[in-house]
């Protein structure tokens, strides 16, 4: 049995409890009574993957069906991978400890571009052909993917049988039902894929054939096998009633998000022009306070966690935020549970809200200002004024805080040296503000941490057309920022620009990148999001060998009328809207948030109802 072989070597590796299952809340079924088996794979290690909320939802949801069994599977750490390869242990799922190659579905969630090579590595470890075209015609081992990255799945197209666009709560079960039905009829893989392509939200890449122009851009996409020309993402219409688990798998080892997490809203009203999540998760939908409280209570009682976090893109945009927090705090305080609230925005950070947060935590305050000058913040539609930032900092300082963390991006469209210097100047003004406050924390200096990411233009944002700054431009800006900071009260950290370059290529790339990903993986690339495993030299070699010019994807402006690799996907937001927003950005004009005024992104028309 595989279990014995695993156990024989488990004590040779770090944190063995990650590889053996048996956690409280994990769901074990009798395999002889199961019709369809689903391996939910997260292409990173257990500690990271177990923190992913989407997996928790879809895991519990699928397992509600008696005859379906969803199990978890993660990328093994380097030490355990070596053990697996040496002892011929195939990649297995944690509930049954059965090899995932024997499963009906092998489903990956694609959360970030830098996990792509891990998919290939996991398929290889499982003994499943990495290329979809090399898999058997038999109806088994359907390799699928979902998650935000599949809004442009083309760089992954050769490795997957199909992609699920949008929210998976309904469509996953529809796919499994179809599979179950066709399996009984003895259908082939292609039969299944043809039928699956008719389900809304399902994209079968092999039915779409790309023709390129001489200049490298896309000429047209030929569709075969009756598959739809345009694939629309799936959404849950009644978000308040959507399935939410009453229990989580509670890991033994500490994971990144080791707490109960309850989703309070989906979508975002803000429309920050760089933010992919802000567009691809539309429309904005909320859960009622009662639903949220009920879910928090059930999860705390069933898991035994003493910490809860509210998950959303912008929690303070919930229309019932004040009563919600009041009601939640009643429960959490009496049960000695910590409540944490990530994703708070600067502009609606009220004094009463701060009072409530102070009851539950005393850690640092983090603000995403994103741009150093008002002009640039207007360009990116981060509707936050300096006055609001200052006001919030004042409330925070008067409330006893003495350190503030500020997030910025570098390399934003239209950005000049002035905007970079503006970051340091903004920080300086926050320091001055601190010392001008009479009742500031006594005997403590102020500490401003500036964290600077490199801007990565992403599909389905108004900036999808934008080029990324070249490495030289970024290095110049990084140096300029360091030179502009003249006090030890400000700490600056920034990202490796090579990582951001790879990210933009994988995000905006087309099907020709499949062979680059394959080549890079063959050269040993995996865990690209981990500093210690990131080998840019190997990637550059892979690009070179495959004859791919990185600047074509990274540093070129995509024309408005160019066919983009993701143009045949309908994420409800129209391309016309994105173009309009792009033009508005270049005029340094802002667009109000959706609650103030509808900007006509197209979502409400397609969904057939108003957003609010």
């Amino acid at each position: 049995m595989l279990k014995d072989l695993i156990e024989k070597h488990l004590l040779e590796v770090q944190k063995p409890s990650r590889y053996i299952g048996g956690e409280v809340g994990s769901i074990v079924k009798d395999r002889s009574r199961i019709d369809v088996r689903f391996a939910f794979c997260f292409p990173d290690t257990y500690d990271i993957g177990m923190s992913h909320l989407g997996m928790k939802i879809l895991y519990s949801l699928t397992n509600e069906r008696e005859n379906y069994w969803c199990e978890r599977c993660f990328a093994p750490g380097e030490d355990f991978e070596a053990v697996m390869r040496e002892n011929n242990i195939p990649l297995y799922a944690l509930e049954s400890l059965d090899p995932i190659r024997d499963f009906d579905f092998i489903g990956f969630t694609m959360q970030y571009e830098l996990s792509y090579t891990n998919v290939l590595n996991m398929l290889d470890l499982a003994g499943i052909p990495v290329f979809a075209c090399e898999r058997t015609q038999e109806l088994t081992q359907i390799v699928i993917a979902g998650g935000p990255c599949v809004c442009n799945p083309e760089p992954l197209a050769d490795f997957f049988d199909l992609f699920v666009l949008g929210e998976g709560e309904e469509v996953n079960l529809e796919l499994m039902d179809l599979y179950h039905e066709l399996k009984k009829q003895g259908a082939s893989r292609d039969d299944f894929l043809r039928r699956a392509s008719q389900i809304e939200g399902v994209y079968v890449p092999k039915f779409y054939n790309y023709k390129y122009k001489e200049d490298g851009t896309i000429e047209r996409i030929d569709v075969s096998d009756g598959a739809p020309e345009i694939i629309r993402k799936r959404i849950i219409r009644d978000f308040d009633k959507v399935y939410y688990p009453e229990n989580f798998v509670v890991p033994f080892t500490e994971i990144v998000q080791d707490r109960v997490s309850v989703e309070v809203l989906r979508g975002c009203i803000r429309g920050c022009r760089f933010c992919q999540a802000g567009f691809i998760y539309r429309p904005f939908r909320e859960k009622h306070t009662e639903t949220i409280c009920k879910e928090v209570k059930a999860l705390c009682e069933n898991t035994g966690y003493d910490e809860v976090s509210l998950a959303s893109l912008s929690t303070s945009d919930h229309s019932e935020i004040d009563p919600m927090l009041t009601q939640l705090l009643d429960y959490t305080v009496s049960e000695r549970i910590n409540l944490s609230l990530p994703s708070l925005r600067v502009d609606n950070f009220s004094e009463s809200l701060l009072e409530k947060i102070k009851k539950v935590r005393k850690s640092g305050l983090t603000f995403a200002a994103e741009g150093g000058t008002q002009r640039l913040r207007d360009v990116i539609n981060k509707n936050v004024s300096e006055e609001e930032i200052m006001n919030t900092c004042r409330i925070a300082f008067e409330g006893g805080y003495s350190s503030v963390k500020l997030y910025f991006m570098m390399g934003l469209p239209t950005e000049t040296d002035e905007d970079i210097v503006g970051i340091a100047e903004l920080a300086n003004r926050i320091i001055d503000l601190y010392y001008s406050i009479e009742n500031r924390p006594k005997g403590r200096g102020v500490q401003i941490s500036i964290s600077c990411a490199t801007f990565v233009p992403k599909p389905f944002t108004p900036f999808q057309f934008e080029p990324q700054d070249t490495r030289e431009m970024i290095e110049h800006k990084q140096k300029l920022l360091l030179d502009s900071v003249k006090t030890k009260k400000i700490k600056v950290s920034y990202h490796n620009p090579d990582v951001s370059l790879l990210e933009v290529i994988l995000a905006k790339g087309d099907r020709r990148l499949c062979k680059v990903i394959y080549t890079a993986w063959k050269k040993g690339c995996k865990f690209d999001s981990w500093d210690e495993y990131f080998h840019f030299d190997r990637w550059l070699k892979a690009f070179e060998e495959c004859g791919i010019d990185t600047s074509f994807y990274a540093n070129r402006r995509f024309d408005y009328d160019e066919i983009l690799p993701w143009d045949h996907f309908d994420y409800l937001v129209t391309k016309e809207f994105l173009i309009r927003e792009n033009k508005t950005a270049h005029q340094s004009k802002t667009t109000p948030n959706c609650r103030l005024r509808c900007s006509g992104c197209g979502v409400n028309k397609k969904v057939g109802r108003e957003c609010f």
């Binding site: 024989k8 033994f252 080892t253 500490e254 069933n302 898991t303 035994g304 003493d306």
Partner: protein
């Protein structure tokens, strides 16, 4: 408030729960059981519970000790049942009782294991030869760094029998707040000395004792 001592088993997949993780795991077990666990007073109140001895990662045990306080007087059997209802696979409360002895009374612990070898006869002889040596010097990691210790006087062989391809042993070693010897010190000494290849699949702690061979309770 009542002071309670639970004896529990940690077997099967639960043996991969490290001591640090066990702490967190126990907290969640208490919360799931909804037992009125007593919290420490002071600036940062936290539920009070403690394990008598740490168990090495990978070891099984049928005699782990967990002390905790409850705010209400609840029958021992009910405490046991409520905890067992929410325990992870491989962990089980065997008994709940009052705390008789102090943790500091612990002097030794007993471990059982099998040594598997294709040449069990020679291995058996080597074990006896090892134990006949005047001293067995081993390097031991302590808080102050690596120290060389003579483990010979501390090893109490409770049983040692040959059976087919294995030698089954039961030994007692110093344990408690003062000195703790891990049974791997013994098996490593044997590995260093013997030319026979062997494997020790699972080490199991089978008893915790005080002075005069009294079972700790």
């Amino acid at each position: 408030m009542i002071r309670v001592r639970a004896t529990f088993e940690k077997c099967g997949r639960a043996r991969y729960i490290s001591h640090l993780d066990l702490n967190r795991c126990m907290l969640r077990i208490f919360r799931r059981s909804r037992l009125p666990i007593w919290y420490t007073e002071g600036f940062n109140p936290h539920p009070y519970y403690s394990f008598a001895l740490a168990l090495s990662l990978g070891f099984e045990s049928c005699c782990e000790i967990l002390d905790f306080n409850l705010n209400e007087d609840i029958p021992f059997d009910e405490i046991k049942d409520r905890l067992n209802a929410v325990m992870p696979e491989g962990m089980r409360i065997i008994s709940v009782a009052e705390q008789k002895q102090k943790i500091t009374a612990i002097t030794e612990a007993e471990y059982s294991f099998s040594l598997l070898s294709s040449d069990a006869d020679r291995l058996y002889d080597d074990i006896n030869a090892l134990l006949a040596l005047p001293e067995i010097l081993m390097e031991k990691k302590t808080k102050k760094g690596i120290k060389t210790v003579d483990i010979k006087p501390s090893i109490k062989i409770m049983s040692c029998e040959k059976s087919g391809d294995s030698v089954n042993m039961s030994i007692r070693l110093p344990a408690g707040t003062q000195t703790n010897f891990n049974p791997t010190l013994f098996t490593d000494a044997l590995k260093n000395m013997s030319g026979v290849d062997f494997e020790v699949p699972i080490i199991r702690r089978t008893g915790i004792f005080c002075e005069n061979n009294e079972i700790f309770s």
